[in-house]
Point group: C2
Chain length 380, copies 2
């Protein structure tokens, strides 16, 4: 029963007020009371996604939303461009393959962003590409991709949709779905939305609905057209995750009260502070050129096992950061700074890293990283 | 802010202690702390499902579990027998069709149970039937099906699996998965498990895993083989619904403390009481011959609109029952008696029905239904 500090890029901490709202007695989903919740949430989600499109609410983790973004729009044998710059880009490719879609993969070094021209070139060369799949922010490397520029390129092609995994993008930095011509944008509840995992949210443009009409891939639980009809009546096709939707209303109210611009500004300040701490601690950033504001990935110094570092922080200090995944396992650690993670929490994370590295025998002067972060956090 | 009485067959009420357990700070899922939760839960689920098979935990509502029970075991063009005796039987047929499986449908009058011989006859006549899909309890009609007998029939066929929607069966009445040769059993969190919606649970036998190896239907989020590998390491393939899994641990502990046999006996007593109230109120049961212990479906008397009755009870008395669905819309109402619904709660439900019918001008003497139920509830 120790005081626990959750600073991983998902799940992130949930505000106590939201936890208590979700602890209210469960209400039935086919009632005017719950329909009023859905009505409020669906309006607020449009503001968050910066879209006039419907934003559909599903009971699943973000990966379920990603699957829906493939199975609802494409046909067996279709071609789709996939940006693979980390674990979640790889997931797009895996989902495409599982559903019989042929992914044209743009492999990008883990820690780097994709060049929009790479997508433009493929679209020029290959006929009949139905969709482009990318992350707004690749959580496994904490890299941000130029989705605005990619959206402009894809927008020139009438029969190609732009699909964005915005799981660590929405609510972290501005994602202007309509203005940037992002046809399908997916997010999950457990990141900037400050909720436990278990909800996927997905916006769909008219251009994407046109593709959906011809899609022949099997879907049932993730049938978005069916969900759209139900959303029009402020309900869902299947039993929704009632308590999480109630929590979502709290989170959306909270973000509205702070103001989305203020949320983005706070997150950006924390992100810059987290980066400034790296050289002060003698550490290198994994992605100095295109860092995402969702979290910061630091390279583990020579001679230190990153997995052991994260385990030590968890056991000794009750601080949960995230290590590296797949090819980055043991080589990086990640501190999140989004959602209900606030500036003082970031200082806890940096302070824990300093302590953990010192514990492991790495030469580090305590306080340098924290001070560098503070200088940015309290800037005028 | 009225005191609210949820007596619908899902979602059902959640114990306050469980709501508070889920309101604890969210923990990360890739930690020894959460792995310990999964380890405890997976053991307790085996006891609940009365099986030595793995019981897989997924973030979705029950329908997602049903989809997994089709997409993981069959191939395109396969034949499967589907018992269609209500809305959820119809759902099995819809899922099969969506995935290119040919359902051989046994249509049963809504309110009646299937005859096991009907399944035996088809299995004799048709070659290559890969699976039989049925409900243990058809929630839309509150009918129980003879799954033990069907399991014995299907068990004689080496290449046919028995798949049971146990969403209002598991935790309601004994479902002896192994002894009855039930290869795949699905349930959801929001019924007898006393949790909010958002978790699907699914047990898989070795016979079913053998079919899974050859299955060519597309799946990714609901890939059970991938989940099985992760479950062996006390984790899940994708981010789990952490708070609901914590809640699940509470529910399973609660059921163990009461004792499964006592849970079943209490539920059975409530079910008999609910049925005894029908003639006392001058109402007919929809399913007098094969009623499920999950809830009781009453026919709405001549001249009364069942939908209006349910809406009135919700608005005037803050009591949520369930109406009829699809072809039964307006014709029945259902009172649940499972999970955290206790004998006194059942009396509230019956009392509300008496009051509501009287409000709508139906000749009914207050107290008769309640007294008939009490006589059974407090029997020696």
């Amino acid at each position: 029963m120790r005081k626990y500090y959750l600073l991983a890029p998902g799940p992130t901490p949930v505000p106590p007020e939201t936890l208590l709202a979700m602890a209210n007695p469960v209400i039935h989903h086919r009632t005017p009371e719950f329909e009023a919740v859905v009505a409020e949430v669906k309006g607020a989600l449009k503001e968050l996604f910066m879209t006039n499109n419907d934003v559909i609410i599903m009971a699943s983790s973000g990966t379920g939303g990603m699957e829906a973004a493939v199975s609802n729009f494409l046909c067996r044998g279709d071609k789709a461009i996939v940006v693979r710059s980390g674990k979640f880009g790889a997931r797009w490719a895996e989902i495409c393959s599982a559903f019989g879609v042929n992914p044209i993969i743009i492999d990008v070094e883990w820690g780097k962003a994709v060049e929009p021209e790479a997508i433009a070139n493929i679209l020029k060369r290959e006929k009949g590409v139905k969709a482009v799949y990318t992350q707004a922010s690749e959580t496994s490397t904490c890299v941000v991709h130029p989705i605005r520029e990619i959206g402009a390129i894809v927008g020139q092609h009438d029969n190609t949709i732009m699909v964005v995994d915005g799981i660590t993008g929405i609510g972290v930095f501005p994602v202007l779905s309509d203005e940037w011509e992002l046809d399908v944008v997916v997010t999950g509840s457990q990141k900037a939305l400050m909720l436990p995992p278990g909800l996927a949210l997905i916006s769909v443009s008219e251009k994407a609905w046109r593709l959906a009409k011809d899609s022949d891939l099997p879907k049932y639980y993730f049938d978005l057209a069916k969900e759209r009809k139900n959303l029009n009546k402020n309900t869902t096709a299947y039993t929704p995750a009632v308590s999480l939707v109630i929590g979502l209303r709290e989170s959306l109210r909270r973000m509205k009260e702070e103001g989305l611009d203020n949320v983005f500004a706070r997150t950006d300040r924390m992100a810059r502070a987290a980066r400034a701490a790296a050289p002060a601690m003698g550490l290198e950033l994994l992605a100095p050129e295109s860092p995402s504001n969702c979290g910061t990935a630091y390279k583990v110094p020579e001679g230190i096992d990153g997995t052991l570092l994260c385990n030590t922080l968890n056991e000794k200090y009750a601080v949960t950061l995230a290590g590296g995944q797949d090819s980055l396992k043991g080589k990086i650690f990640r501190i999140a700074h989004m959602g209900f993670i606030e500036p003082f929490d970031l200082l806890i994370g940096i302070s824990a890293v300093e302590a953990g590295l010192k514990d492991m025998g790495h030469p580090i002067e305590l306080g340098k990283g924290v001070a560098a972060a503070q200088a940015i956090l309290w800037e005028k």
